[in-house]
Structure formats: C-alpha cells, structure tokens
C-alpha cells in the first residue's frame, strides 16, 4: 500500500484522492472552528477597541486585579489571578485527557477511550462550576449587563494601591464608584459566549461518551467521531488561552 503523505505534490491535485487527506467530517469541523475563531477574535478585538477608548478617561478601565481577586473559602483575602489560573489548569488538564482519548481511539482501545472521555467531561463540568462561582461573585459585587460598580473613589483607589497578594481587605460603599459599563457587559458577553461553548462541548462529549460505552465505534471500526469532538474541545481550550490573556492578565 502506498503511503499517501509521501507522494510528490505535482500529482496531489490530479484527482482520485483528497489533497487534504482528511475525512469530510473532520474537514468541516476545522472549517467551522476557523469561522468560530473569527467570531471570538471579533469579540476580543471589539473588547480591545472599547478598552483602548477609555485611555485617559476620568472613569478609567478597572484593574482586573481589583475585581477578580476571590478564591473559594478564602473570603476577604486579596488573591488576584489565582482562581482563573486554577480554571486554566482544569481546562488544560481536560484537554490532555481528551487527546489521550483520541490516542486510545487510534489503538482501538474502547475501555481507555471511555475512561478518558469521562475524565474530560468531569473537567468540563468542573470548569463550568468555577465559572458559575466567578459570575456569582461578579454579580454579587454589582456587575450587571448595564451596570459596573468596579470603579473607585479616591479613598478606594488608595486602598486598592496598598493591597498585596494575600492581604485582608474589605470594600466599603464609600470606596466604590460607577465605572465604564462595557467592562461589565463585555465580561458577561465574552466569558458567557466561551462558557456556552464549554457547555455545548460537555453535552457533545457526553453524547459521544455514551456511544463509546454502547460500542458504536467498535462496530464502526474507527473512532473518527472522538477525534472530531476532540477538535472542538481543544478549540474551547484555545479560546480560553486568549480570554485569560486579554481579560485577566492585561
């Protein structure tokens, strides 16, 4: 049997085989993900443009460190970035279990595919739980689609500047002031759009996992479906890398 990848490129467009050497379904998944990447980058670029436009404003863009500084069971401690880093870790780990499921599929090991897909679903559910907690903190402190209470008065700004990692703090009503509304609305839109992708990824993973358990892919002779949902799941991780960078780091 000839190996298709080693054939010279002159003959690759002559027909009789796919120049891309992928199945129809996988090609369509890639094209969907490419279009989805454009959607997410439009959202992030829109976010960037609006954030840029507040440079030099009297109501400056809030510093993420003073907004996303909570950690479960550590109430009142200033712990910026720690919780989202944990969420990043969960998502990267669920990505590695997903790719291990794909690899097990290549070896046609149904039991291993099932095990790793289950771990991936757990990771996705854990991430969604974390995001729900993050949203509830944000809403609790006065973040709404049309309201942002993460601005500072002079007293609040002095207090924020004196905080260090792990120090105790408490915002008083006299510390907080209305800030730029797009900060709050874009937080809900961007992380919500990403979270919705995670949710649909978990649902799709569950469906495919049930197929794995039912032996569908043993009968079919290949685990192409696991690869396709794997692509989608890694894409969700990929988007989170940039949400993490632009929303929390910068």
């Amino acid at each position: 049997m000839s190996n298709t990848t080693t054939v010279s490129t002159e003959s690759i467009w002559k027909g009789g085989r796919s120049p891309f050497n992928v199945s129809y379904g996988k090609l369509m998944m890639w094209i969907f993900l490419l279009s989805d990447a454009f959607t997410f980058s439009s959202l992030l670029v829109g976010y960037g443009a609006i954030r840029f436009s507040y440079a030099g404003s009297s109501t400056p863009w809030p510093d993420p460190a003073t907004v996303f500084n909570h950690f479960p069971f550590a109430h009142g401690l200033h712990l910026p970035l720690l919780f989202v880093s944990l969420m990043t870790f969960i998502l990267i780990f669920s990505s590695v279990t997903m790719v291990l499921a794909v690899e097990a599929g290549h070896r046609k090991s149904n039991a291993e595919v099932s095990k790793y897909m289950f771990l991936t679903i757990l990771g996705g559910a854990a991430f969604l739980g974390c995001q729900a907690w993050e949203w509830s903190q944000f809403i609790h402190e006065g973040g709404r689609l049309d309201t942002n209470m993460f601005g500072f008065t002079q007293a609040g700004l002095d207090k924020a500047n004196s905080l260090s990692f792990g120090s105790h703090y408490e915002w008083l009503p006299t510390d907080r002031a209305p800030g730029p509304v797009p900060f709050a609305s874009l937080f809900f839109i961007v992380t919500g759009f990403h979270g919705f992708h995670v949710l649909s990824g978990v649902v799709i993973n569950i469906i495919i996992w049930l197929n794995v358990i039912g032996g569908t892919y043993v009968k079919r002779g290949h685990y192409e479906m696991v690869e396709k949902v794997g692509l989608y799941w890694h894409f969700v991780d990929l988007v989170w890398v940039f949400v993490f960078t632009f929303y929390y780091l910068i």
């Binding site: 050497n21 992928v22 129809y24 436009s53 192409e224 890694h234 910068i250």
Partner: protein, 118 residues
Amino acid sequence: MSNTHHSHTEGEYIPETYIPHAESHGTKSLWRTFWLLLAITIVDFIIYFVADPSLFRNIVFIVFGIVKAFFIVGIFMHLNYEAKFMRWMIILPAIVFLSYLVWLLMIEGNYVSLVKYF
C-alpha cells in the same frame, strides 16, 4: 495491507466516506505539551506579580498566548501531523484575517480615544 473489514478501503477514494488510516504517535508528546502549557501558565502568573504593568509585559503575555495556541493547535489538535495543504488551508486565513483585525484595532482604537478625550 488488507483493509477489507472497513467499508471504506484506502485504495478507492469516495469523498463522502473517505477516512484516512489513523495512527497513534504515542502519549509522550501529549504529556510533554501538557507540562509545557502548565509551565507557561505558571510563568504568566509569576510575571504578573513581579513585573509592573507595561507595554513590554503585555507583549510578553500575548507572545506566551500565541506560543500556547501553537502547541494546542499543533499537537493537541493534531494539525502538525496533517497534510501540507490542510495545514495551510487552516492557518493562512487565520493569520491573514486576524492580523488585519488587530491592525484595524490599533488604528481605530487610537482614533476613538482621540475623538473622545482630546
């Protein structure tokens, strides 16, 4: 090599049902990628606290983000192992269109700020 137990043999090409033979590359590169992504995230975390906010720090974060994206797409999404034309069909539109969007962001963002506050 006999593939007769598959409904889609590799000899004949039927676009709707063609599925290339998939082979495992082992788990070593997958775990290595995982540790690398984790390490970069930890370095992100450290830089966030040791360096004051600056343009340079932002550029470092963005470059690290692109490096992470490269490994997720290349290793986890298997694009490094796909056929040459497949790789370019996905990567080229992304690079061209995204750099255009970022270029617009740079120009328009400056202009909005100029109109609003100066």
